[in-house]
Amino acid sequence: MFKKILIANRGEIALRIIKACNELNITAAVIYSDADETALHVRLSDEAYNIGGPKADESYLNQEKIISLAKEINADAIHPGYGFLSENAQFIEKVEEAGIKFIGPSSESVKLMGDKTSARRLMAKNKVPIVPGTTKPITSIDDAKKSALEIGYPILLKAAGGGGGKGMRVVQSEAELEESFNLAKSESQKAFGRDDIYMEKFLVNPKHIEVQIIADHHGNYRHLFERECSLQRRHQKIIEEAPSPSINEEDREKITTIAINAAKACNYYNAGTIELLMDEDKSFYFLEMNTRVQVEHPVTEFISNIDIVKEQIKIAQDEKISFKQGDIKILGHAIECRIYAEDSLNNFAPSVGRITNHNVPHGIGIRIDTGINSNSEVSIYYDPILSKLITFGRNRGEAITRMTNALKNYLVTGVTTNIPFCKWIMEHDDFKNNKFNINFIGNEIDKYLQEKTEVKDITDDMLTSVIASAMLYNEKRNGRTYKNVVPEHNKWIVDHE
């Protein structure tokens, strides 16, 4: 049994793992950079160790330091969270060699799935459907032309070395191919240090559907149903839900079987996600496998009542999965909004600063996984995710209503957030009626900008804003300021509430 786990991450996911450790009575040790000295994950940990400078390379990505620290403090295991070193096969190998358990899959599985072309070959061999295209890197422009003709335009050029939209280009016709091919190669080289490119048929309006799987070291494989994550901006998810509103029981049977087969094909253990694209004709294609805990795992936890992070830790301790497939069923519907420090009115540009207010919503069916609170610093060094707001309802409509209200009651100030944008989507008819695909945000953003800058009528909220601003402006100009209305001697009562 583990006595101490080193959490090699920061922000909300580090806090999520700390909670799981607390429940399992395991000491939660964390690392932090110079920029994170007073971060929430440091304050809520059992032990915290400074690991270096604010740049990720100097701290959260510093493999040698993390492993030697783990040895020094006698950590039994390392939990990588998501991002940073979580899918770095070389790091996992070093952890394995150091005799420390890695809470995740083997370095072998990660290697197999990390190279996108080898993953496609493996899937095709194991009867997992892949998006039509090449399964080997394309070496020349002539090969590219030949393959594109076979597949049929439009096609998508992708980097074999990684995802996240880098090195990815849509090509509509042969005339554009050569230039795009060269651009994709150089982008890929910059992002992943290698320039191999492969080609896929470009699916025009697909939905993104993924299956959560869990496997142990005893050959047990389970799935925890699917999530739909079609709402993305810049190829990054911002709103996810479970189950998918777009599939039926028959489809679910089909894709969960695909997912289990994919996991078996790479001898997978621990938690993982099989990402699929669903075409307009409801064909499913393997996209990639994420070999770590996902940002959006809470929606699955809500509908299955299974604690995925706890399962991860137990599996790494050689325990069997704690439930049988037949034990679990879909209990309702859950939605997650990722709350980012970014400006939805300005091309989703990241926003930095100090959080001045962090008032979180409460109530039935509301969960918030946060990495920040009041006075937290949002720095330029890391991903601008602040927290995740998740709601649960007996059905999709109830989950959406709860999310809309929770967003109204969630106040984050000091940085610009995407809370208004998430709220706008929750109130969008096409979202409510499940008429969306992965192009939804790209297609609708202009409408959002228009609505946020031009109105027909003045609303009560606009009047409220104008009155309060005018009163404060006037007071300031007259050399007065509004004083706190809570008398000093009464303050502890208010603080106590």
Partner: protein
């Protein structure tokens, strides 16, 4: 009585603040009360509503508010500033943008430019106090100051020539 103009989204609202508890918006009277809760959090009652909101002045006259997950941006100008801008715009259009005229009666509290200074569009020339409010008069022309026709402490009347820019 304090008169302001507010711009919010594509709307413009004329404001008269009568007292702490009375305000006119486009001529319509509201009974109000604003209470500070903490930091930038306030509670505003108007008519039968009690709303909690975040309000912060981000720049001079520019306010950022958040109410129930929705954010708003309010730009406030005193009547004097608004008229100054209008006048300057007009004179800009009529090709006589080299003369800077007092848009309203007021007391000169600050003169930012003197003869021979270079001036650019948007630069502050003078601060006029009127109705206990300071109003910045900005240049809508660029060039060199040829004449300054006022000094700190002067009371100036509306229409008085303040600067000539060459």
């Amino acid at each position: 009585m304090n008169e302001l103009y507010a711009e919010i989204k594509n709307k413009r609202i004329e404001i008269k603040i009568i007292s702490e508890n009375e305000i006119l918006l486009d001529g319509k009277k509201y009974n109000i009360s604003l209470k500070k809760l903490e930091k930038e959090l306030y509670q505003l009652s108007f008519e039968n509503k009690q709303r909690q909101l975040y309000v912060k002045e981000t720049e001079m006259g520019q306010f950022h508010t958040v109410i129930e997950g929705e954010e708003h941006f309010v730009r406030l100008q005193t009547k004097l500033e608004a008229e100054a801008n209008k006048l300057l715009k007009k004179s800009n259009n009529s090709n006589s943008n080299k003369k800077v005229i007092a848009p309203m009666n007021g007391l000169v509290v600050k003169v930012n430019k003197s003869i021979g200074d270079k001036v650019e569009i948007g630069e502050s020339l003078i601060v006029l106090e009127a109705m206990k409010m300071e109003n910045e008069i900005k240049s809508l022309a660029e060039g060199t100051i040829k004449a300054v026709n006022c000094a700190i402490g002067n009371s100036v009347d509306k229409g008085k020539l303040l600067f000539i820019i060459e």
